[in-house]
Amino acid sequence: MTTTPSAITVQSVSKSFGRGDAAVRVLQDVSVEIGAREFFTLLGPSGCGKTTLLRLIAGFEDLDSGAILIEGARIDHLAPFQRPVNTVFQSYALFPHLTVAQNVAFALEMQNLSAAEVRRRAGEALEMVRMGAFASRKPSELSGGQQQRVALARALAPRPKVLLLDEPLSALDLKLRKEMQIELKQLQTEAGITFVFVTHDQEEALTLSDRIAVMQGGRILQLDTPRAIYERPAHRFVADFIGEINLLDGQVSGPGKVRLDCGAEIAAPADQAAGARVTVAIRPERASLAQGGALPAEVTHAAYLGTATILQLRLANGAPFLLRAATANLPEIGAHVTLSLPPEALQVFAA
């Protein structure tokens, strides 16, 4: 990826909405390089600036400062219709007065291609999303998933260098969303273009992405592969936002030792000075029930999931703890157990 030029370069981009004292800084000095043919995800809670960044790339908003380049050429001064990017909108934004075929042909007609070429390429794009049979329908006659496919075909038809997707699956029900996730990934491989995908759904982000930028408060907190983000979150926020995690507050009591607020002292890779307040994080599947473990707890609830059981535990100070355990030899509800927390599974964040 280092040899191919970046598909998109975002250079210290800032953006505020409103003026004077009422101004809200939505993006603060954000820089990111997105590689060619990469499935890149902007992940974060609502209001983190992910959609604004996407709209800046599309050209629907103007930059306050910074620069945006596509394949090395600046595009931030261009109007949206001059940029080699296309957007799949959250609401699909299909033209209600045009048929499916006319919707998909729209961008091709704007390029002044011949009628035959427009028809051929619109047909191809529709076949790619398996919607060829619906060419003469109106968008209002389609289901949500079908509209989603048409929106994808419409954005892919002009063969953009980059496809921007603004929470495109959020309006679909769970089953359809799972199917579309797989299709989306296949489509990206087939089309061979860069996808910039915006979502607040961390599971979706983990499933689809080559790399994820986790955003909060207008900044990118961590930019890495899904695996690295899940296993080695760089911030307490990232750890908490991605997947399920137990966050235990405590105080560094010595080199590599943390005394948790529940009273237990555990071995943890803390490099803070003794006395510093820290948060220790561990995924539910990395802790285990063990006799003589460092952390005593009481079982309050068990949820059977088939492949595993999620145990809800309560620590001595009342703090909750989630544990993903094998379904064999489970303790009773109300039983007092001890947990083993392997130090290599722990992450320590300054509080």
Binding site: A58, G59, F60, A79, P80, F81, V85, N86, T87, F89, S91, A93, L94, F95, P96, H97, F106, A107, M110, Q111, K138, R154, A155, P158
Partner: protein, 295 residues
């Protein structure tokens, strides 16, 4: 699956139908009947005369002393002028109204309410008074005339008592009826469609032609009907700003019922006017049906 009995339904719909029948159907019937009768000597109509289409032929042919029919373009030219003026008014109102409606829908909530208020303010004053106001604005020693004459190098500009004056007056009077329905359509407009058009490579002009205008079409049609039909029958504006020199159908009708005391001929022109409006409405309905069928 309504359990409403036919009697109950008749009881519910009946009064409204009766009112329409008495207040619309009967007068229209009388008008159509009168249009077939002859002119009376004391009152406007001779109820005893034998019905004939003489009044309708009079619209086109003039009877010479020896009884031969000569083509008389006077009434047809008035009719043509009315249609032409109404059509021009409608086109100008669309051209002016569409951008205003578009701009209004881009305003904030509060500013929109102010804009709607500003557009409806003229309705607080009587149409007659507003037309007299235009008389003052456009007259020879008025501000507009003087300014126009100072700038325009090719001789004096005559703004009053001609077709242009009527057109200005009609556009002014009916513009709100164009803006409001178009605006009502834009109020529900999904602006992301415009973003989508830009995103897919449409510049402003093409986004306007391909997305905004097609989606604003129901409002434009409603506005066009609200402007064209009353303009076709209007007479106040033509009477005041046309100065009696430029006549429209409305003035002709008024003249027949008034000074000329020729009710049957007035009724004839009214029937023709009504038929014209019906034709326009039917044309729009057919066009709309075809659009629906295409969907």
């Amino acid at each position: 699956m309504s359990a409403t009995s036919p009697f109950r339904r008749a009881g519910l719909v009946g009064p409204a139908l009766l009112v329409v029948l008495i207040l619309v159907g009967v007068p229209l019937g009388i008008m159509a009947w009168v249009s077939l009768l002859g002119r009376g000597s004391t009152i406007g109509v001779d109820w005893q005369s034998a019905p004939s289409f003489a009044n309708y032929t009079k619209l086109i042919w003039e009877e010479d002393f020896d009884g031969t029919l000569l083509f008389n373009p006077t009434y047809l030219s008035i009719l043509w002028r009315s249609v032409w003026q109404a059509a021009a008014t409608t086109v100008i109102c669309v051209t002016l109204g569409l951008p205003v409606a578009l701009w209004m829908s881009s305003l904030t909530r509060g500013a929109r309410d102010v804009a709607i208020l500003l557009i409806t303010i003229p309705f607080w004053t009587n149409l007659l008074v507003r037309n007299y106001a235009w008389l003052i604005i456009l007259r020879e020693d008025g501000v507009v005339s003087q300014t126009a004459n100072a700038i325009w190098p090719f001789g004096p500009v005559q703004l009053l008592y001609n077709d242009t004056a009527i057109l200005i007056g009609l556009v002014y009077s009916f513009l709100p009826f164009m803006i409001l329905p178009i605006y009502a359509g834009f109020e529900k407009f999904d602006w992301r469609l415009l973003e989508a058009a830009y995103d897919l490579g449409a510049n402003r002009r093409r986004a306007l032609m391909r997305v905004i205008i097609p989606l604003a079409m129901p409002g434009i049609i409603a506005g066009a009907m609200l402007v064209f039909i009353p303009s076709l029958g209007s007479f106040v504006t033509a009477a005041i700003l046309g100065g009696g020199k430029s006549m429209m159908m409305g003035n002709l009708i008024q003249l027949q019922f008034g000074q000329s005391r020729n009710w049957p001929f007035g009724a004839t022109i009214s029937v023709v006017l009504l038929a014209l409006m019906m034709l326009v409405l039917m044309g729009i309905a057919i066009w709309k049906n075809r659009q629906e069928a295409k969907r």
